[in-house]
Subunit: 195 residues, 2 copies
């Protein structure tokens, strides 16, 4: 069991509707020491990859990505912006992603100046469920001609399909905690075994 | 001249309407090494203060605050959320702040669980101009009964009134770069001399 799985069992709270509340250490109050341990774990899992940029998305991904960057030689961290509307001015890479949950369209936006064919990218985000945000980030890397070297997620909801789909496409996706099931009544959380 | 002032002169771009573009290193593509140097500078300026929490606001403050936390003993970093509408559920500290620029009302929101009377807070943000966001963060600390030990800003627009107003209230406000004037035609940026 790694540092994040242990912390989820200690401080995560399961709510109705398959909601896992981790705001006391991950996405509202941030335990930067934990993020540093997570960074060390990603460095192990992506050892040998030549990564020169980290890409994440506002807002919850930013803190994790910033600390994780230390473990990859302090590479620049680019965060994509989310917007419901977008003025295309030609200087932006934009991906349209439809939310499974809310059925609305969101745009993921990165300036062309900060992502290009020379980039070998590690994508970092806090959660992966259906994977809409992640699909947008991959699409943007593809538009930029950048190479996605790997994807590092904190918590994956293994009972939803985002992770499987991304692995089926051949990406190295490393989720530090993959939740197989959780129960709001008992609070019980079961993780997928990882090698 | 400190690390941030030097970087602004090198990579900052002055645009019409008193806009200073620093997205290549501060608030879209983030230079985490620079953030680390900024953290060291804040640690000097706030030496002797007992800080047990850092408070910032999404999205651009999060990366800076996360890295700066290393220089304050890896204290927890709480980021406030911004919202145009708010459902008051009693569990949230919320401050209403009116934007000078857009005349609209924004809400700054922090869970009550993450800020209380035991907290000695360093507030961190990327920009200070009129200071609306900062006023909201101070108001929230006050609601929580927390003590604001200091405020660390990356770039202050010294020709606007936010900084002066906060200093007049007696807060220790440390801006690493205070822009006295800038000229979109020539690109010239002048900083306030700091001791």
């Amino acid at each position: 069991m790694n540092c994040l799985e242990e912390r989820i069992l200690k401080d995560g709270v399961v709510k109705e509707g398959n909601v896992l509340k981790v705001d006391s250490f991950l996405n509202h109050c941030m335990d930067v020491k934990l993020f540093d341990e997570m960074g060390a774990e990603y460095a192990k899992r992506f050892a040998g990859k030549k990564i020169n940029k980290i890409l994440t998305i506002e807002a919850s991904g930013i803190g994790i990505a910033s600390i994780v960057a230390r473990h990859f030689g302090d590479v620049p961290v680019v965060f994509a912006k989310k917007s419901q509307s977008i003025n295309l001015d030609g200087e932006m890479l934009t991906a349209e992603v439809e939310s499974f949950t809310h059925k609305n369209i969101n745009h993921v936006i990165v300036s062309k100046r900060f992502l290009g064919p020379e980039d070998h990218v590690l994508i970092i985000d806090d959660f992966l469920a259906n994977g809409c945000a992640l699909q947008g980030l991959i699409q943007i890397c593809s538009q930029a001609g950048a190479t996605v070297e790997g994807i590092g997620i904190a918590i994956e909801k293994g009972f939803q399909h985002g992770g499987q789909m991304i692995r089926n496409l051949g990406y190295q996706l490393e989720s530090l905690a993959i939740v197989e099931s959780m129960d709001a009544a008992t609070g019980k959380i079961t993780f997928r075994e990882q090698a």
